[in-house]
C-alpha cells in the first residue's frame, strides 16, 4: 500500500519535472553569425516550435511538386545557420557544435534529415541566398 503511494508520488514528480519537453534555449552553443541572428525567415519562437512542420511541408512541395522556393528550403537554413568553425572546417552533424545537433542532441530527438541531406554548405557553387 505504502509502496504504491510512494511510486505514485515519485511518478507524478517525475512527470512534472520532465514534462513539456522543455529544454531552455540558453546554455546551448550556437555557432551562428550574430549579425544576422535576427534575420531568420520566421521569428525565433515560431521556428523553435514549428521548424519541422515547415521543413516537412517544403519536402513534400519540392519532391512531389517540384516547387523549390527558398524560404523554407533546408539548404537555405544551412547557408545561415551552419558557419565554419575557427579552423575553417564545418561542424559534423554528430557534434553539438552543429546548429541542429546543439538542440537535438540535448533533447535526444534524432534528426534524420542529415542521413540524406548535406549537413554543410556546398563549396563549389552558390546554392542558396539569405532570405530577405
Amino acid at each position: 500500500m505504502c509502496n504504491r503511494l510512494i511510486t505514485k508520488v515519485l511518478l507524478t514528480l517525475f512527470l512534472i519535472f520532465f514534462s513539456g519537453a522543455s529544454i531552455t534555449h540558453e546554455n546551448i552553443p550556437h555557432n551562428i553569425d550574430k549579425t544576422i541572428a535576427d534575420k531568420c525567415v520566421e521569428p525565433t519562437d515560431i521556428m523553435r516550435a514549428q521548424h519541422h512542420i515547415f521543413l516537412k511541408q517544403q519536402s513534400h512541395d519540392t519532391v512531389v511538386k517540384g516547387i523549390r522556393t527558398t524560404k523554407y528550403s533546408l539548404n537555405n537554413c544551412i547557408s545561415c545557420h551552419i558557419q565554419p568553425l575557427a579552423d575553417g572546417t564545418y561542424p559534423s552533424i554528430k557534434s553539438e557544435e552543429h546548429f541542429c545537433s546543439g538542440c537535438h542532441i540535448a533533447a535526444a530527438a534524432q534528426v534524420e534529415c542529415f542521413d540524406c541531406h548535406a549537413s554543410k554548405p556546398f563549396k563549389k557553387k552558390e546554392i542558396s541566398k539569405v532570405a530577405e
Binding site: A49, S59, V63, I67, R68, I78, C116, A118, I127
Partner: protein, 247 residues
C-alpha cells in the same frame, strides 16, 4: 521553463489558406511559359513530358563521360564494391548473337509512363511526377527494395552504406532506393538539361538529347519524328520516355 506557442488562431489560418489558394492557381497564370525557365514556386506540370533520345551510333565503347558526369553531379562515390555501389547510369556493351555487331549505349531509368516500380511500392515513395519524371521520395522510402525487383531495366540502386559527402542538391542516404531522376534539381531551377546530356555534348558525341516530348517544336521531338526512337523492352507496354536510335 518556456512554453511553445503555436499559432493556431483564425488569422494565420486564413492567411495560410489564402496563400495556398493563390499558389494553386498560379500555374494557370504562367500558361505560356511552362516549357522554359519555370519559376521556383511553380509546380511541375503534366503539359510537359521530359524525355531523352539516345543515338547509339554516336556512342563509343570507351567513352564514359555520361557516367562520370552523373557521379559528379550527384555526389556518387566509388566504394570499390561494384556489386553494391550505386549506378544511376551505366554503359552497356551489346553484341548481336547472330551477326556479332556491337553497340555501346547508356542505360538508366527509362521514366516509363506506366512504371512497374511505382505500381509495386508499398508506401508510394516511388512515384511519377506530373512532368513524367519517375523518382523516389526518400522521405517515404522504407528501403524494402521491391521496386528494384520490379524494374525491367535494373535501373535502381540501393544505398548500402552510410554517406557523408552528399551534395546539397541531391540528397541521398543509407537505406533508401534511388535512380536517375533526369537531374530534377536542374530542371526545377530552370536549367533544362541533364548532366549526362551536357557532358556528352561537351565531349562532342551528341549521343544524348534531352527535352520535352510533349512539345512538337523541341529538338527531341523533331529528331524522334525524323529518325524514330526504339523503346527498350517495348513488349512490356511501359511507354518509356527514354528512346534509342541505332539498335
Amino acid at each position: 521553463m518556456k512554453k511553445y506557442e503555436i499559432k493556431l488562431d483564425r488569422r494565420s489560418f486564413m492567411k495560410n489558406s489564402a496563400m495556398l489558394g493563390l499558389a494553386s492557381i498560379a500555374p494557370g497564370v504562367f500558361f505560356q511559359e511552362l516549357a522554359y525557365g519555370r519559376p521556383l514556386d511553380e509546380p511541375a506540370s503534366s503539359k510537359i513530358r521530359w524525355g531523352m533520345l539516345i543515338d547509339t551510333n554516336q556512342c563509343t565503347e570507351d567513352c564514359n563521360a555520361c557516367v562520370t558526369a552523373c557521379d559528379d553531379e550527384h555526389g556518387i562515390e566509388d566504394f570499390g564494391r561494384p556489386a553494391t555501389d550505386t549506378q544511376w547510369i551505366r554503359k552497356m556493351n551489346l553484341t548481336d548473337e547472330l551477326s556479332g555487331k556491337s553497340h555501346s549505349l547508356p542505360m538508366m531509368c527509362q521514366h516509363c509512363e506506366n512504371p512497374p516500380c511505382v505500381d509495386v511500392c508499398p508506401t508510394g515513395a516511388s512515384f511519377k511526377r506530373d512532368d513524367g519524371i519517375v523518382l523516389v521520395n526518400k522521405h517515404t522510402c522504407i528501403g524494402c527494395r521491391y521496386c528494384m525487383m520490379a524494374c525491367p531495366y535494373k535501373a535502381r540502386s540501393f544505398v548500402h552504406e552510410n554517406l557523408e559527402n552528399q551534395v546539397p542538391h541531391s540528397p541521398r542516404g543509407k537505406g533508401c532506393v534511388e535512380s536517375c531522376n533526369l537531374c530534377v534539381h536542374k530542371i526545377d531551377n530552370g536549367d533544362n538539361n541533364t548532366a549526362c546530356a551536357e557532358a556528352c555534348q561537351k565531349d562532342g558525341h551528341q549521343a544524348i538529347l534531352f527535352g520535352d516530348l510533349n512539345d512538337p517544336q523541341s529538338d527531341i521531338s523533331k529528331q524522334l519524328h525524323k529518325y524514330g526512337g526504339k523503346e527498350v523492352r517495348g513488349d512490356l507496354g511501359l511507354n518509356t520516355a527514354v528512346r534509342y536510335r541505332g539498335i
